[in-house]
């Protein structure tokens, strides 16, 4: 008996969420197959890639990133350069300088940076906070206010501060809400339900179900992504049908494999190559399990992953 392909059809479709405005707007989600399963049904929308820059400019960046942005004097300059990279679909500004345990930059200063960047580039924008829940509650609310009309995705609302960020971004200022939970399908679901109860339109929510670098507890992320996709498509679970965005760079650029100098790790070879491959492989693994968008840092990583996405769609 000859082989006949049995196709896996789902009745559900991941919600499409448009980030940004006008011609440059980018759509996340919208798929109705498992990731890259274009043989089951034609690809309706491909996965997207964001490039990440920081409010701290190049201060904390490794040399290879400094080289990429050589000549840039402000964060806005970096933004302009970043969006010209091959394969970039959106820009991600990380306001890491806000961390009270780090630089602790004041909210006004960070909002000014965000505004400067948003004005410098006509490009879909994701703004990430500093990961401190109290600070982010205020910071991201203010950013949402300052960038009205830009249809920005704010990351992230967590269980502790979803009310602030959800209300500001999702209700008051008509932006998009990133809902972040800690690698657990039920926590992801619960946060989405809570946002809905708050009044946030589910069509304006993008999930970050957790992130980690390959080799660092990545097993939990794999299973969470796999399960969220399976439940969303297979069960048509409305509270899980949001597109998934996964910040990759912020995880991979701090692990030993990407940081250890050639002196520290003789035999491991070029640190830039290591950092890129860590970023590329982590990103691909996320995409293969269900991320609808990933956030990367190095242009070579962006180009490589972008090429792979095209090749698979």
């Amino acid at each position: 008996m000859p082989f006949t392909k049995k196709l896996q059809k789902f009745n559900a479709t991941v919600r499409s969420v448009e980030v940004g405005t006008g011609d440059k707007a980018v759509t996340l989600g919208g798929g109705n197959t498992l990731p890259f399963y274009s043989f089951d049904a034609p690809t309706t929308n491909t996965a997207k890639i964001g490039i990440e820059i920081s409010d701290m400019g190049l201060a904390h960046e490794p040399d290879c990133i400094k080289e990429v942005y050589a000549g840039c004097e402000t964060v806005a300059d970096m933004a302009k350069k970043a969006i010209t990279m091959e394969g970039v679909d959106f820009l991600c500004l990380r306001l890491e300088g806000g961390d009270p345990n780090g630089e602790n930059r004041p909210v006004e200063e960070l909002v000014a940076v965000a505004k400067e960047v948003a004005e410098a580039v006509d490009f879909p924008l994701v703004v990430e906070g500093c990961k401190n829940v109290e600070k982010d509650a205020e910071l991201l609310s203010k950013v949402a206010e300052a960038l009205q009309g830009k249809n920005v995705l704010l990351m992230s609302a967590k269980e502790e501060n979803y009310k602030n960020i959800g209300a500001a971004a999702g209700l008051a200022y008509n932006q998009l809400v990133g809902a972040e939970s800690a690698v657990d399908i039920n926590l992801a679901k619960q946060l989405n339900v809570l946002l809905k109860q708050l009044g946030v339109d589910s069509g304006k929510v993008v999930m970050n179900v957790g992130s980690s670098a390959a080799g660092y507890g990545f097993d939990y992320l794999i299973s969470t992504l796999d399960r969220v996709k399976a439940a969303a498509l297979g069960q048509n679970d409305d509270s899980l049908l949001m597109p998934i965005i996964t910040p990759v760079a912020s995880e991979t650029w701090s692990v030993k494999e990407s940081v250890a100098t050639e002196e520290d790790a003789p035999g491991w070879g070029c640190v830039v190559e290591r950092a890129i491959d860590m970023e590329v492989e982590t990103a691909v693994a996320c995409l293969a399990c269900g991320s609808d968008a990933v956030i990367l840092k190095h242009p070579t990583s962006v180009a490589t992953v972008s090429k792979l996405i095209s090749a698979l769609s």
Binding site: P2, F3, K5, K6, Q8, F36, Y37, S38, F39, N101, A213, A214, G215, Y216, G217, F218, D219, Y220, I222, S223, D226, R227, A230, T252, S254, V255, K256, E257, G267, W268, G269, C270, E273, R274, I276, D277, M278, V280, E281, T282, A283, V284, A285, A288, C289, T300, S301, T304, V305, K307, L308, A311, L312, S313
Partner: protein
């Protein structure tokens, strides 16, 4: 569908003879149901029962053994050959993935000697330990370029064999294949050679040499037909080469083959697979890294690269280690003393559990702090801090016992021990059990460690 332990037990002789190695027939039945043993390991099963059960309890995907292992994977590994395939689920959370993806680097008759030497040297260079697993390039794929002479190919195979890794013979020419097998068949190479045009001859070569035969096809349908034909001819020692037509097609093949085997129990496709990402992205090391990650996630049993660099290997092996863990068993770190940032006997001590994820988070933050310190890891059942505490596996008793068994007091002079903030409740008991120690309650989350240690240092 798969049989339950109870259903299998009903067909056993119920004698508890222990000849299968299990203490009871029930224990044996449960192992068969799990796929850990096969029904024919019971010497007293009636033929009828074996026939009924073999069909029903046969795994949907065969476990194929090939190659001779250069090193044991870890201290619990006693297998001499590489086990490939044998998976029962499509997603790791459904049960667990059992046989991890193996990696290969390639040499070719089209390369000059120096290039071959360099490539084989690079294979040998990748060899390190990650949480108890030995990480190295398990296979070398030896490509036979069109028109290469059998002697030349055999010579290259011999040279490749000198690297001490298992071999994959990528060859289409019968004479070359034969010549290669002659020099290496006792090393159980994979003869990746069969397609619709030559499978009969190649199957004979492989069977005569007692090696696994790799099969490919121009399309997934052709591959299926060829496998069916080989099976009909009695060769079920196969591995499926998913082809190199395009990234998209190869990926589709990987999923379609595995899905047919596991979801639709179509045993014709119930074999492990080979993906040659070196050919899919020749010359592009980052794209090969990307593809290696993709095919590790989705159903490549062996992934062949042109060359394996540390840059590619470090994340890849980490990914594989995560992917192939049992979702119900957390990966663990060996108990011991882990000095960080050049710590010595006078450096402060911290303790946490042996759950690998906790260890990585904590040690990462400790490294970031720059403060020299000794991380003391005791056996806490491989659970997270609160879970192990709740299970009584991370208690004042267990920590005190560890301090004694590992002779910490004679190895470290510092007497300050920082415990995770989540188990602050242990402080009093620990003070009682460890006289002379200053027990300090640390932060509840690893991310707060940098500030905590710096503050502590500043106030010292």
């Amino acid at each position: 569908m798969a049989l339950t332990g109870i259903q299998i037990f009903k067909l056993t002789p119920k004698k508890n003879c222990k000849e299968c190695g299990c203490p009871t027939c029930m224990a044996f039945s449960m192992k068969v149901a799990q796929g850990a043993m096969t029904i024919d390991q019971c010497p007293h099963m009636s033929e009828d029962a074996v026939a009924t059960l073999s069909e029903a309890s046969a795994p949907p995907m065969k476990t194929i053994k090939a190659g001779v292992k250069a090193f044991a994977d870890n201290k619990n590994d006693s297998e001499k050959e590489f086990a490939l395939g044998g998976e029962t689920v499509l997603f790791r959370h459904e049960k667990t993935f059992v046989n991890k993806t193996r990696y290969a680097a390639s040499v070719c008759t089209c390369m000059d000697d120096a290039a071959v030497e360099a490539r084989l040297a690079s294979v040998a260079a990748i060899d390190y330990d990650r949480i108890g697993d030995r990480m190295y390039v398990e296979f070398v794929a030896v490509d036979c370029a069109e028109g290469a002479a059998p002697e030349a190919y055999a010579a290259l195979v011999k040279k490749a064999d000198g690297a001490g890794r298992a071999l994959i013979l990528n060859v289409k020419d019968e004479a070359c294949a034969k010549a290669a097998l002659d020099v290496c068949k006792d090393k159980k190479p994979i003869l990746n050679a069969a397609d619709a045009s030559n499978y009969e001859a190649m199957s004979k070569l492989a069977s005569d040499a007692g090696v696994v035969l790799g099969v490919t096809g121009a399309s997934v349908e052709e591959l299926y037909d060829t496998v069916a034909a080989l099976e009909k001819a009695g060769n079920k020692n196969l591995i499926l080469d998913l082809g190199t037509a395009s990234i998209k097609d190869t990926f589709a093949n990987a999923v379609l083959v595995r899905r047919a085997a596991l979801k639709d129990t179509d045993r014709t496709f119930g074999y492990p697979s080979i993906v040659n990402v070196g050919k899919l992205a020749s010359g592009d090391s980052h794209m090969q890294a990307a593809l290696a990650a993709l095919f590790t996630m989705k159903y490549g049993s062996i992934v062949v690269m042109e060359e394996m660099s540390y840059a590619q290997a470090l994340p890849l092996y980490g990914l594989r280690q995560n992917l192939f863990t049992d979702p119900q068993k957390a990966p663990r770190i060996e108990p011991g003393i882990y000095p960080i940032n050049g710590a010595d006997e006078n450096s402060v001590c911290l303790t946490t559990v042996d759950f690998a994820l906790t260890y990585f988070l904590v040690s990462g933050e400790l490294e970031r702090s720059g403060v020299p310190c000794n991380l003391l890891i005791s056996d806490a059942g491989g659970l997270s801090v609160l879970t192990s505490w709740a299970a009584g596996k991370f208690s004042s008793g267990s920590i005190a016992k560890y301090i004694q068994e590992f002779e910490i007091e004679s190895k470290i002079k510092n007497r300050t021990l920082i415990i995770p903030g989540k188990v602050a409740v242990l402080k009093g008991d620990l003070e009682a059990k460890l006289p002379g120690w200053n027990i300090v309650v640390g932060p509840t989350e690893a991310v707060m460690l940098v500030k905590f240690l710096k503050d502590m240092q500043a106030n010292a």
